[in-house]
């Protein structure tokens, strides 16, 4: 019964969000009827309805209501309770509902945060997006569908890969980022319609983009960390289509953050910012669709569920084409009289945007290329290998890093004095020599990628610190206050790049066979296979191997497991990882070859933690910056 109530809440939310989305239309026909005052109460209602709907679905999981098809397919009676709750977003239907709920939360936050809503139709645009997504859920992906009259005793189970802490928080945070990009999109479209794309619009939009980007960064970071320890391969990024689908919107959002600065401060690039906010949201929609339609495995997979695929493609086309048509008719912005030279902040940001957007498009192209190929060559399938993305991103990363540093010292319009760049070059060179010497002493070898990452690390770190410098001491603190967020985020990229370069240079990996009591030496560390035991848990049984690792200055034990989940008939390895600041020791259990003889994968990963540390700094910096911009604009 309660399940039907949940579905009813969802339908009600669909109906009233549709009514709310009609406000601008009514207004355009009759200038006297301004119904914008209705938008806020409707958003509150839609939020409450979707909240109730989601709560009921979570409740159904908690009481093991296997008469609900979605619960039966993604949960199991033996699943620990916290995984039962997170199983709510373990598959397509539930994650859509979560997505919708989060978009409603953003909309609610928008009407709470924005002061003057009397003529604002942004909320109405948001309701339109909400409406289409609820309609999609209701008509093609209903999570409340019953399995009657035969109710299964036991659920199928949640995919063992997803029975994990990081997975409980990864989707909500990532979706907050995805859905958050709807806010700048809606603000751009509504401002286009009302001919109010101006500097004030840029000022109002920027903190929203920053906040969404913060969540997107955090979501991607957690996903990468999860893949690292859960998949058992020790990789932190695979250029998988699902990852690209999150990375490309991130690139667009970062470009938007920077172009909005120019729009706000100088009045340039306003059309471009509007276009970017459309592009960023389109990429976020495209990402959702690519991941959710199953089209990426094959064009054929798309045909397996044509209803969903066509519906999603319809929504995507509607919003992208619709907003682009509005854009082409309404972009009447005048370019400001003030020009800029090649040594200006404007020009630096322009290059930054060109790089980010082209990189994003090239990555998306690689992701979609197998589909294009399959369509042209009549079903012939291909895959685009990792090296494609690796060779693509390196020149862009170098360009963006140098650009970041140089643009920090540029002024608006024209830069008069560039002598500080000379000082930066000298400091950087000395610091770089120091770091290279240390690396050589520690690792006894240097590689292209470790040297490159050290160059980028040095210039980004020193460049950002030096840019805080002011002539007068009294301005120093004010400068630090205003630039905390952006400086942290920029320095985060330095740590990130260093981690990436060192992991690819100084990592060791061996696949080996060991019998009990045997020792294997890898890069001066002794891995001793002590014992292996069988273990039984609530919802799985496991082989558990124990290692003693002796490195130069300490020794510790590592446990690695191979689990068998009977309810879903799946095998899962749990890697044994010893994280330290400099190195991760990483052991994965393979298979039993003979009595007490097992295969293993043993790895040492250098500076891998710095990748996520850098990404976390970017997240924190972005949030700080968002908060400061929210405050600043209300002053």
């Amino acid at each position: 019964m309660i399940v039907e109530v949940g579905f009813l809440f969802l339908i009600s939310a669909m109906v009233i969000s549709f009514m709310g989305s009609l406000v601008p239309l009514v207004w355009s026909f009759n200038k006297e009827t301004n119904l914008t005052s209705l938008i806020s109460p409707i958003i509150v209602l839609v939020f409450l309805f979707t909240l109730s709907s989601l709560s009921i679905l979570i409740y159904s999981f908690s009481i093991d209501d296997f008469s609900v098809k979605y619960v039966a397919q993604n949960s199991n009676i033996n699943l620990p309770i916290y995984y039962k709750l997170s199983a709510t977003w373990g598959a397509h239907e539930g994650s859509l509902l979560l997505w919708i709920f989060l978009l409603c939360s953003w909309s609610l936050f928008y009407i709470l945060k924005e002061k003057d809503l009397s003529k604002d139709i942004t909320g109405s645009i948001l309701l339109q997006i909400i409406f289409f997504f609820i309609a999609f859920t209701v008509f093609t992906s209903n999570p409340f569908e019953r399995l009657l009259p035969v109710v299964p005793q036991n659920g199928v189970d949640l995919n063992p890969l997803l029975q994990d802490f990081a997975f409980t928080i990864h989707p909500p945070i990532l979706y907050l980022g995805y859905a958050g990009l709807a806010i700048p999109f809606a603000m751009s479209v509504s401002s286009l319609l009302q001919n109010s794309v101006n500097q004030d619009w840029a000022r109002r939009t920027r903190p929203w983009v920053l906040m969404a980007t913060g969540f997107l960064t955090l979501g991607i970071t957690i996903g990468s960390w999860w893949a690292y320890y859960e998949l058992g391969w020790g990789g932190w990024w695979f250029w998988d289509p699902v990852e690209n689908a999150a990375f490309v919107p991130w690139l667009m959002a970062v470009a938007l953050i920077h172009s909005l600065i120019v729009s706000e401060k100088r009045g340039h690039f306003k059309n471009w910012s509007v276009l970017l906010s459309i592009l960023a949201f389109s990429m976020s929609l495209l990402g959702t669709f690519l991941v959710r339609s199953g089209i990426l495995t094959s064009v054929h997979a798309f045909a397996l569920d044509p209803e969903r695929g066509v519906f999603l493609l319809g929504i995507f086309t509607y919003f992208v084409i619709g907003s682009l048509i509005i854009f082409s008719f309404k972009n009447t912005n005048k370019i400001p009289e003030t020009g800029y030279t090649t040594t200006s902040k404007e020009f630096g940001f322009l290059l930054n945007n060109i790089f980010l957007v082209i990189l994003g498009i090239a990555i998306m192209f690689g992701t979609l290329f197998p589909l294009i190929y399959e369509a042209i060559f009549d079903g012939k399938q291909i895959s685009v290998g990792r090296p494609y993305y690796d060779t693509l991103i390196i020149p862009f990363a170098i360009g963006l890093a140098f650009l970041q540093v140089v643009a920090l010292f540029f002024s608006w319009g024209k830069t008069e004095n560039l002598s500080i760049l000379k000082a930066l070059a000298i400091y950087s060179f000395l610091f770089f020599i120091l770091l290279v010497s240390i690396s050589y002493l520690v690792f006894e070898e240097l590689y292209f990628s470790s040297i490159l990452s050290l160059v980028l690390f040095t210039i980004i770190l020193l460049g950002n610190l030096l840019s805080l410098k002011q002539k007068e001491r009294s301005k120093y603190l004010a400068q630090i206050y205003t630039k905390t967020g952006s400086t942290l985020a920029h320095i985060g990229t330095a740590f990130f790049v260093l981690g990436v370069g060192f992991v690819s240079s100084y990592s060791f990996e061996r696949e080996i066979i060991l019998s009990k009591g045997q020792t294997y030496e890898l890069a001066g560390n002794n891995f001793k296979f002590e014992r292996i035991i069988k273990e039984s848990q609530q919802n799985y049984s496991a082989d558990k191997a124990t290692f003693t690792v002796e490195s130069k200055n300490n020794s510790f034990t590592l446990n690695t497991e191979k689990r068998f989940y009977p309810s879903s008939n799946q095998v899962m390895s749990e890697a044994g990882i010893r994280p330290t600041l400099i190195k991760d020791y990483y052991v994965t259990l393979g298979e039993e070859l003979d009595t007490d003889i097992w295969s293993f994968r043993i790895q040492i990963k250098t500076l891998v933690r710095w990748i996520w540390f850098g990404a976390l700094l970017v997240t924190i910096g972005t949030f700080i910056s968002s908060r400061r911009n929210f405050r600043h604009r209300n002053e």
Binding site: Q381, R386, Y389, V571, I597
Partner: protein
């Protein structure tokens, strides 16, 4: 030249330059990093694809997996239910690798017609079946 025009010209040149580099990288990247996908039947009938890096997919044939007791060498047959292909691999197999399940292998075709795999990819879904195999099965049914 008028400053505004000069500015536009420079902007245009930069965009042009950046796009050219990107296209160069994309074309070069795609021409050397594409892995074509074949079924056992296609591999049997084709003679030109020996030696290059390709992917093959099918279902792991029941009782065909032979593991060494002293090394990481393993061999197994994959099938599209028309033809079989012998795959040789050295390394730890992924968790989801099992008999009667779908698998995609990457590597190249050896002279003796067997497939030397450098990578074995089992998808993160126990019900996964390479689309070609699924298609082949569908054709059999009809």
């Amino acid at each position: 030249m008028h400053p505004l025009r000069k500015q536009r010209l420079i902007t245009f040149l930069v965009i042009f330059f950046a796009i050219s580099i990107a296209i160069l990288l994309v074309v070069r990247g795609l021409s050397s990093n594409l892995n074509l996908f074949y079924t056992p039947t296609e591999l049997k009938n084709s003679s030109e694809i020996k030696g290059i890096n390709i992917r093959a997919g099918g279902m792991v044939l029941k009782d065909s997996v032979v593991k060494s007791k002293t090394s990481l060498e393993v061999q197994f047959q994959i099938t599209d239910y028309e033809n079989n292909l012998l795959v040789k691999y050295s390394g730890v197999l992924p968790d989801l690798f099992s008999e009667d399940a779908g698998v995609v292998v990457q590597g190249n075709l050896a002279k003796d017609g067997s497939f030397q795999a450098t990578e074995v990819l089992a998808k993160h879904d126990e019900n996964y079946m390479p689309p070609e195999v699924a298609n082949a099965l569908k054709k059999d049914d009809s």
